[in-house]
C-alpha cells in the first residue's frame, strides 16, 4: 500500500522535472535543501537498526532540513533510547516514536523512506518488507548475506518501484569517481585485470562464555532467521566475524572496493563467469569467517579480478585497475594514484562517458526520492558488487573453480555450489525470492 504523502512527493517531483528538465539530479536548492521546507513537503523518514552505522546514517539525515525523521526501530532498547533522544534532541520535541519489531514499525508508520542498518542476515527480510510497503530505502551494504537474498531484494524493489540507495558511499567521493571515469574512458588502455584489496581478517577472540542476555536486548529477534545459539556477548559489531550473520571483512568491504572496481569497468549490471580461490579459516574460537582470503574472478570480456586481504596485494587496500597502458589505484583518504602522473591530468571530453556524479550520498537518495530517478548505487548494482564477494566465499568453501552464469545466477559446473546461494532460514521466517 502506497501512502498519500509519497504520491504527493512524486507528483511534486514530476512537476519540478518538467520545468527544469534536469537529468538525474534535481538541484537541492530548488527544493530548499538548505532552507526551511514546508512540513507537508518533507520526506518522512524512519530508521531500522540504530547501532553504530545506523546512528551515523541517521545523523546525516537529521541534518537535512527536507527530512522529517519520525520513528526508530531496534531490537535493543538501549539503542532505541539513545536514538529517540538523538532525534528528539535534534527537533527539540518528544515526537520520535520507537518500535522493537520492524513489522509493527512498517505497519503503523506512514513513511516515505527508511534507513536500514542491521546485521547482514536480516537485510533481505526487512528490506523486502519495506519495499513491499512502497517505502523508499537507504540500505546498508552489503546488500544481503547471500546471492538469492540479494535477488529477493532487487525483485521487491523493482516490482514496487521504490527508490533504493546502497550505503556504498565511496561512489559519492571525487577520487573514486575520477579514478573509475579515467578507467572507463580508456585512459589506461584496455583493462586486463583488477586487484581489490580488502582488510585483513579479524583475529580470533576465543570463545566467550554463555552469558545472560542483557535486559535491553531481544536476542531471539536479533537472531531472527539465523540458527539459534546461546548468547555469548557477540551481537553488536562483532557479529561480522561469524558466518551465520556475515562473511567477514570480505563481504563487509565488497560493497565498497569491488563496487568501485565494477564502476570503472562498466560492470554494474553483470558479473563474472568464473571464480576460484582460497580462504584461511580460524580453527579456534567462535569466529569462523576467513581471516585471509584470495580469489580471482574472470569476466566474459577476459578481464580478471583478484580480491584478497590487503597484505597479499602490491597496492594494499583499495581498487587497482591495470590496463595495457598503465594503472590507476584508488582508496580511502582521497587516494588516487596512477602509473604515470600525466594520466591524472587527463580531461574527459564532452563526448566521453561521464559517470553519475554525487557529492553527498544521503542527499542523492533524497533527490532521487523526489525525482524518482535511479540513485548512484541502485539495488541491482549493489547485488552485482556483493555477488562477487559471495561467489568468492562459495569458491573458498567448496574449494573448487566454479563456472557462473551471471544472467541466470547459477553455477553451471557444480550443483553442490548452487546449494550455497541461499542460507536456510530458521523456524517460521520465510523469504519470498520472487515477490
Amino acid at each position: 500500500m502506497k501512502n498519500n504523502r509519497r504520491q504527493f512527493i512524486k507528483k511534486a517531483a514530476g512537476g519540478a522535472l518538467g520545468i527544469f528538465a534536469v537529468p538525474y539530479i534535481i538541484p537541492g536548492s530548488a527544493l530548499g535543501k538548505n532552507g526551511a521546507v514546508a512540513a507537508s513537503n518533507r520526506i518522512v523518514l524512519g530508521g531500522i537498526g540504530l547501532g553504530s552505522q545506523g546512528t551515523w546514517n541517521s545523523r546525516s539525515f537529521l541534518e537535512k532540513k527536507e527530512v522529517q525523521y519520525v520513528a526508530i526501530c531496534d531490537v535493543d532498547s538501549a539503542h532505541r533510547d539513545k536514538a529517540v533522544s538523538m532525534v528528539n534532541g535534534n527537533y527539540k520535541n518528544t515526537d520520535c516514536r520507537s518500535y522493537a519489531d520492524y513489522r509493527e514499525f512498517l505497519e503503523k508508520e506512514k513513511l516515505d523512506a527508511v534507513t536500514i542498518a542491521v546485521p547482514d542476515h536480516w537485510h533481505a527480510l526487512i528490506a523486502t518488507a519495506a519495499a513491499n510497503k512502497g517505502i523508499d530505502i537507504y540500505g546498508e551494504k552489503p546488500l544481503s548475506r547471500s546471492i538469492k537474498e540479494s535477488r529477493a531484494i532487487v525483485n521487491a524493489v523493482e516490482k514496487n518501484k521504490v527508490i533504493w540507495q546502497t550505503g556504498s558511499w565511496q561512489r559519492s567521493l571525487e577520487n573514486f569517481r575520477r579514478g573509475a571515469e579515467l578507467v572507463i574512458n580508456g585512459r589506461i588502455g584496455k583493462i586486463t585485470h583488477v586487484e581489490v584489496g580488502l582488510p585483513n581478517g579479524r583475529r580470533p577472540i576465543g570463545t566467550p562464555p554463555v552469558m545472560d542476555v542483557p535486559e535491553s536486548l531481544d536476542w531471539e529477534m536479533w537472531l531472527g532467521p539465523a540458527p539459534a545459539v546461546p548468547y555469548r556477548g557477540v551481537s553488536h559489531w562483532d557479529w561480522r566475524w561469524i558466518m551465520d550473520y556475515s562473511g567477514g571483512q570480505l563481504t563487509d568491504w565488497a560493497g565498497h572496493h569491488i563496487d568501485i572496481a565494477h564502476w570503472g569497468l562498466g560492470y554494474d549490471r553483470t558479473g563474472p563467469i568464473s571464480v576460484e580461490g582460497e580462504g584461511v579459516y580460524p580453527r579456534e574460537g567462535i569466529f569462523d569467517v576467513p581471516v585471509e582470503y584470495d580469489f580471482t574472478c574472470e569476466y566474459a570480456t577476459g578481464v580478471k579480478m583478484r580480491v584478497a586481504n590487503s597484505s597479499r596485494l602490491v597496492h594494499g587496500m583499495g581498487t587497482a585497475w591495470y590496463g595495457d597502458k598503465g594503472w590507476v589505484h584508488v582508496d580511502r583518504g582521497d587516494v588516487i594514484r596512477t602509473s604515470e602522473p600525466k594520466i591524472l591530468e587527463e580531461v574527459i571530453g564532452p563526448e566521453e562517458i561521464k559517470l553519475y556524479k554525487s557529492t553527498d550520498h544521503q542527499q542523492n537518495f533524497l533527490d532521487c526520492i523526489r525525482s524518482r530517478k535511479e540513485t548512484i548505487t541502485p539495488a541491482e548494482t549493489a547485488l552485482r558488487s556483493i555477488s562477487v564477494g559471495h561467489l568468492g566465499e562459495i569458491s573458498m568453501l567448496t574449494g573448487k573453480k566454479l563456472a557462473w552464469d551471471p544472467e541466470k545466477e547459477v553455477f553451471t559446473n557444480n550443483e553442490y555450489a548452487n546449494r550455497l546461494l541461499m542460507r536456510p532460514y530458521r523456524g517460521e521466517w520465510k523469504l519470498e525470492i520472487n515477490s
Binding site: 581478517g201 584461511v280 580460524p282 580453527r283 581471516v291 574449494g399 553442490y416 550455497l420 536456510p424
Partner: protein, 368 residues
C-alpha cells in the same frame, strides 16, 4: 641481474640433482640416506620419524661421535652443545663443501662455539650469537619466498606450535637466502622485528637448509617437532638439500595464519582418526579436527562418488555417540555436499530437541 644469477644457480642445482639422484639410485635402493645427529634419543627419533614418514628417506641416528658423513645424502643436525673433535668438524665441513647436504635445526649453528666453517655453512657471520625468547609461545612465521622449493605453495603466514623464538643475530652472508621470518615483539628492544628463522645456504658445492624452529624440542617436550609446519619444512628442507628440488605437496592441514596444528605421530591423521577426534568437539574447543574433515572434502575431487563416501561417514557419525555440537557441524556439511541418501536420517532428526534445527537447516538445502 639477480634473476639471471638465480636462474643460473637453478640450472646448476638441477644438474647436480640429476647427478646425485643417479648416484643415490646406484648406491642404494630407492631412498635417500639421512644421518640424524641429535642430543637425545627422543628428539632424534622424532626427526627420524618425520623424515621417514615422507617416504623419501631411510635414516640412521647417532647421539655422539658421528662419522662417515660422505655415506649420506643429507646430514640432519639438531644439537644444543657440540663436542666434536677437530677431525670430525673438518670432515663435516669437507663433506658439505664437496656437494654434501645438511639440515641445521634449532641451535645447531651456534652449538659448537667458535667454529669458523660452521658460521659459513649456517650462513651466520662469525661471532654471531643466538638470541632466544625468554618463554616458549606460539608464533607467526612469514614465508618470504613463494618460489623457493622449500616454501612454495605453503601458507604465506602460519602459526608455529609452542616453541622458543630464536634467531641468529644475522642470517645473512653472501650465499644465504632467507626463506622465512618470525615476528618478535620483544626480542629487539621492544620495537618488534621480523627475524630470520629459515634460510637456504650454498656452501661450496653443498646445500644447507637452516632453521631455528624446533629449538625447544627435548626428551620431555616434543611439541615443536609435532608442528605440521615444522614437519613440512624439515621434510622439504632435507629433500631440497639432498636433491635441489622438492617433490612433496603441502599438507591440507598445514597451520594457517591464526591456528597451529600438530601431528602427534608426525604423520597426517587418517580420515577415521580425524572423525574420532572431531566427535569430542564442544563449543570452546578447537574446531581443528572438524575443519580437517571439511578440508578433506574441500580438497577432494568433488565427484558424487567421493562425496558419497564422505556422506556415508557423516551418516555413521550422526548415528554414533559423538557430541551434539560435532553433529550440528556435520549437518552443516551435509547441507551442501549431501544427497538424497541423507534425507531420511535428517528427517528423523527434525524432532530432536538438540539437533532438530541443524537437521532442518540441512534439509532446506537438500530438499528445497
Amino acid at each position: 641481474m639477480k634473476k639471471i644469477s638465480i636462474f643460473k644457480s637453478t640450472v646448476q642445482l638441477i644438474v647436480v640433482t640429476a647427478i646425485i639422484a643417479m648416484f643415490t639410485r646406484c648406491e642404494d635402493s630407492t631412498k635417500l640416506q639421512a644421518l640424524v645427529i641429535a642430543d637425545s634419543e627422543e628428539v632424534g627419533n622424532g626427526l627420524e620419524t618425520i623424515l621417514e614418514n615422507s617416504g623419501l628417506f631411510s635414516t640412521k641416528l647417532v647421539t655422539k661421535n658421528p662419522s662417515d658423513f660422505q655415506k649420506y645424502d643429507v646430514v640432519v643436525l639438531d644439537v644444543a652443545k657440540g663436542d666434536w673433535d677437530n677431525n670430525t668438524k673438518a670432515a663435516f665441513a669437507e663433506y658439505v663443501k664437496n656437494g654434501g647436504a645438511s639440515v641445521l635445526v634449532g641451535a645447531s649453528a651456534v652449538a659448537f662455539g667458535d667454529w669458523a666453517e660452521m658460521t659459513e655453512i649456517a650462513g651466520t657471520p662469525a661471532g654471531a650469537g643466538l638470541v632466544k625468547s625468554s618463554d616458549a609461545f606460539e608464533y607467526s612465521v612469514r614465508n618470504l619466498k613463494k618460489d623457493h622449493p622449500i616454501t612454495a605453495g605453503l601458507q604465506p603466514n602460519w602459526m608455529h606450535s609452542t616453541d622458543y623464538l630464536s634467531f641468529n643475530t644475522s642470517m645473512i652472508t653472501g650465499q644465504t637466502e632467507v626463506l622465512a621470518t618470525a615476528w618478535a615483539d620483544t626480542l629487539q628492544g621492544g620495537d618488534g622485528a621480523h627475524l630470520p628463522v629459515m634460510a637456504a645456504i650454498n656452501y661450496g658445492q653443498g646445500r644447507v637448509f637452516h632453521t631455528t624452529l624446533g629449538i625447544n624440542a627435548s626428551a620431555t617436550d616434543l611439541t615443536p617437532l609435532q608442528c605440521v609446519g615444522f614437519i613440512t619444512i624439515l621434510q622439504r628442507g632435507a629433500e631440497w638439500a639432498a636433491t635441489g628440488v622438492v617433490s612433496q605437496a603441502a599438507p591440507i592441514d598445514f597451520p594457517n595464519a591464526v591456528s597451529t596444528h600438530e601431528w602427534p605421530e608426525y604423520k597426517p591423521l587418517t580420515l577415521d582418526q580425524v572423525l574420532e577426534k572431531a566427535a569430542t568437539y564442544e563449543v570452546g574447543k578447537s574446531t581443528k579436527y572438524l575443519q580437517d574433515f571439511t578440508m578433506m572434502i574441500r580438497e577432494s575431487d568433488g565427484s558424487p562418488e567421493t562425496f558419497g563416501m564422505y556422506e556415508d561417514k557423516i551418516l555413521a557419525f550422526l548415528a554414533s555417540p559423538a557430541s551434539v555440537e560435532s553433529k550440528k557441524y556435520m549437518c552443516r556439511e551435509l547441507s551442501w555436499m549431501g544427497s538424497e541418501k541423507s534425507v531420511a536420517t535428517l528427517e528423523g532428526l527434525t524432532a530432536d530437541p538438540e539437533l532438530g534445527d541443524a537437521a532442518k537447516y540441512a534439509l532446506a538445502r537438500l530438499k528445497p
